[in-house]
């Protein structure tokens, strides 16, 4: 739950609730690099410095120069949702603005006419009285939809994670023996995200070998890491990118709902049930340097020319020795000859090689500066490949649930799950949370914009009693009504064993 004042909470729970909202947009995308936290006596009121909030981080998107369009807001709807199992959250928003003067209409002569373009930074706030809190930080996705009849302009907004997730990695990433947070930091660096822009827990999952090929979408890479870690990855309402490890959940409800503050509640469908979990993983480990590839047939290099020879590998490699002309038996080497079958004279000079290593291939450019043709008759490459050393297959089920609902299988194929113990624990966490019907509900409540994904809430409505975790929030502000729809999931909270705190033989369980 976001930090708010006691007055904010009192108003959220009150009977006459003065709604407030704010919309900031930066159509020109003017950027002010020197933005800092507001300092009394230094910063000026109305200046660019920002008030320090919950997060102790100034984001790049804090540095845009925003204009206030709150007075044009006709409706706001912000949807924030966590994906099942891999626990990656993204947010989107739809806003409808008054456009009586064609201000947002392209080519209509507005002062922002040249800037009515996709990807305009936008921020949304909701609250009560004079206190509003951030609920969304992102970008316009496309051009606005203009309705000339109702004189409105509608924008669909995506949070910065959306654009980040669709970005392909422009380099291959190979890492050994790293925790989830270290792997995420490498991905962030590859995506151009500064360390000041994120806040990560340490990860519990230690991965023998991380391999993301060039071109892998950033979002796919993060989801794979989160699926193995069972943590949460999201951009919060203020725009800070956060990773929470799998134990960073609070089971203490931040809000309670009964019939006096709930407008509607319904059970989600049994399609959500998972009562069989299959986990498959190929565990890779980097091997000692070894002979890994050989040339299959001789290759001719005409006099005075260069020829490329590609070596394609079955496994990613972390290093390859550059081949040298006839060397020792423990490093890469090549041999040359005047004849294709190697029966002629070897050519010891004026043949050079330039090599480039890729994750699963190796490019060798041979140059022959002799005045006669030369054959490369053999090449041996010595490398350190990351080979599959273990295959994990595990199938766990909840027999009672299978009896009632038939098999509902979730298959996880993730090579970052590196041991059977972890796989077993993960399977049972999922079964604990998803094998029973009626433990996921949608609640329309007397809302509080401070609620966040992952917050625990208590419910005392007959038939729905329990402690739930919020997995989706829709904040809807239309006209003079604030509606909040929560998708919640009952969660089995376990206290994990902590050395020095837990007792052997006690109820705390070993962390996965």
């Amino acid at each position: 739950m976001q930090s708010v004042s006691s007055q904010f909470t009192a108003r959220a729970n009150g009977t006459m609730r003065p709604l407030s909202w704010r919309l900031l947009m930066s159509f020109p995308k003017a950027f002010q690099a020197d933005v800092d936290f507001f300092t009394i006596g230094v910063s000026t009121i109305g200046g660019t410095d920002i008030i320090k909030g919950e997060g102790n981080v100034i984001q790049e998107w804090d540095k845009y120069q925003y204009d206030d369009y709150s007075y044009r807001v006709m409706s706001i709807e912000v949807t924030r949702q966590e994906e099942m199992v891999n626990s990656v959250s993204t947010a989107m928003a739809d806003i409808k603005l008054a456009n009586y003067d064609s201000y947002f209409t392209p080519d209509a002569g507005s002062v922002i006419d040249n800037f009515i373009l996709p990807y305009r930074p936008s921020r949304l706030y909701l609250g009560f009285g004079h206190e509003d809190i951030p609920v969304f930080t992102g970008l316009t996705e496309k051009m606005p939809t203009i309705d000339d009849k109702s004189k409105t302009a509608s924008f669909h907004l995506i949070d910065f994670m959306y654009s980040l997730f669709n970005r392909p990695l422009d380099e291959t990433i190979l890492l050994q023996n790293v925790s989830t947070d270290a792997a995420l930091e490498t991905l962030m660096d590859a995506a151009g995200i500064l360390p000041t822009q994120y806040d990560f827990d340490y990860g519990y999952n230690i991965i023998n070998f991380v391999y993301f090929e060039k071109g892998t979408k950033f979002g796919d890479a993060v989801k794979e890491l989160m699926e193995a870690e069972m943590g949460r990855f999201y951009m919060d309402e203020a725009g800070v990118i956060r990773f929470k490890n799998r134990q960073n959940f609070s089971s203490t409800p931040v809000a309670y709902f009964d019939k006096s503050n709930t407008i509607a509640v319904k059970t989600m469908t049994q399609d959500d049930i998972i009562n069989v979990v299959e986990i498959k993983a190929n565990v890779r480990e980097v091997q000692a340097k070894q002979k890994y590839w050989e040339l299959q047939s001789a290759t001719r290099i005409p006099a005075g020319t260069s020829v490329d020879i590609w070596a394609d590998f079955n496994d990613p490699v972390t290093s390859v020795d550059t081949p040298v002309y006839i060397a020792s038996a423990t490093t890469s080497a090549f041999t040359t000859n005047k004849l294709e079958d190697g029966s002629g004279d070897p050519v010891a000079s004026n043949v050079s090689v330039l090599a480039t290593r890729f994750a699963k291939s190796y490019l060798m450019t041979f140059t022959n500066t002799n005045t006669f043709d030369v054959y490369i008759t053999t090449i041996e490459l010595w490398a350190t490949p990351a080979k599959i050393v273990k295959q994990i297959y595990l199938r766990e089920s909840d027999a009672a649930s299978v009896d009632e609902y038939d098999e509902r299988v979730l298959t996880i194929e993730n090579d970052f799950i590196n041991n059977s113990g972890d796989a077993y624990s993960k399977a049972h966490i999922i079964l604990d949370d998803w094998s029973t019907y009626g433990r996921a509900n949608e609640m329309t409540v007397k809302g509080n914009p401070a609620l966040q994904i992952g917050d625990a809430i208590g419910c005392t409505i007959n038939g729905y009693e329990g402690t739930y975790v919020i997995s989706k929030i829709v904040n809807r502000f239309v006209g003079s009504q604030f509606t909040q729809i929560l998708s919640v999931k009952e969660r089995v909270f376990k206290t994990y064993f902590t050395i020095g705190v837990s007792t052997i033989g006690g109820t705390d369980v070993i962390a996965p």
Partner: protein, 126 residues
């Protein structure tokens, strides 16, 4: 002590006019709010603000006075702005949007009967 219930208008054209003596002045409130009911019937209200409007009515209005009012009404569109209305008794001096009722013409066009205007304040009061 007599009350000053005059309505003085600064028109969009910049002139000052006093509205003819009216028969009724009604304050109207139009809160922008939504009442919500929870599962057990508890009521709560989300509100944005409270908008105020003034209905001014004449049982009979001379044609010339009607024309004065109509000019102010027309100037809203001509000058693309609201006129400013002052009611000294209530300490009000705000720009307001004027809406007018039907024009019921009587006595060979000399009298307009049952005419009213509604002045909706530009800014909400809370």
């Amino acid at each position: 002590m007599s009350k000053d219930l005059r309505i003085i208008v600064t028109t969009p054209a910049g002139t000052t006019v006093e509205l003819p003596l009216y028969s009724t002045l009604t304050e109207q409130t139009d809160p922008q709010e939504t009442d919500n009911t929870t599962l057990d019937g508890t009521l709560y209200t989300d509100f944005v603000n409270n908008r105020r409007a003034w209905r001014v009515a004449w049982e009979k209005l001379k044609a010339a006075d009607y024309d004065t009012i109509r000019t102010i009404y027309n100037q809203q569109y001509q000058y693309e702005m609201y006129a400013k209305y002052t009611i000294p008794e209530y300490g009000i001096s705000n720009r307001m949007k004027m809406n007018i009722s039907d024009r019921n013409i009587r006595l060979n066009g000399e009298i307009i009967e049952g005419f009213s205007i509604t002045l909706k304040e530009q800014y909400a009061v809370s």
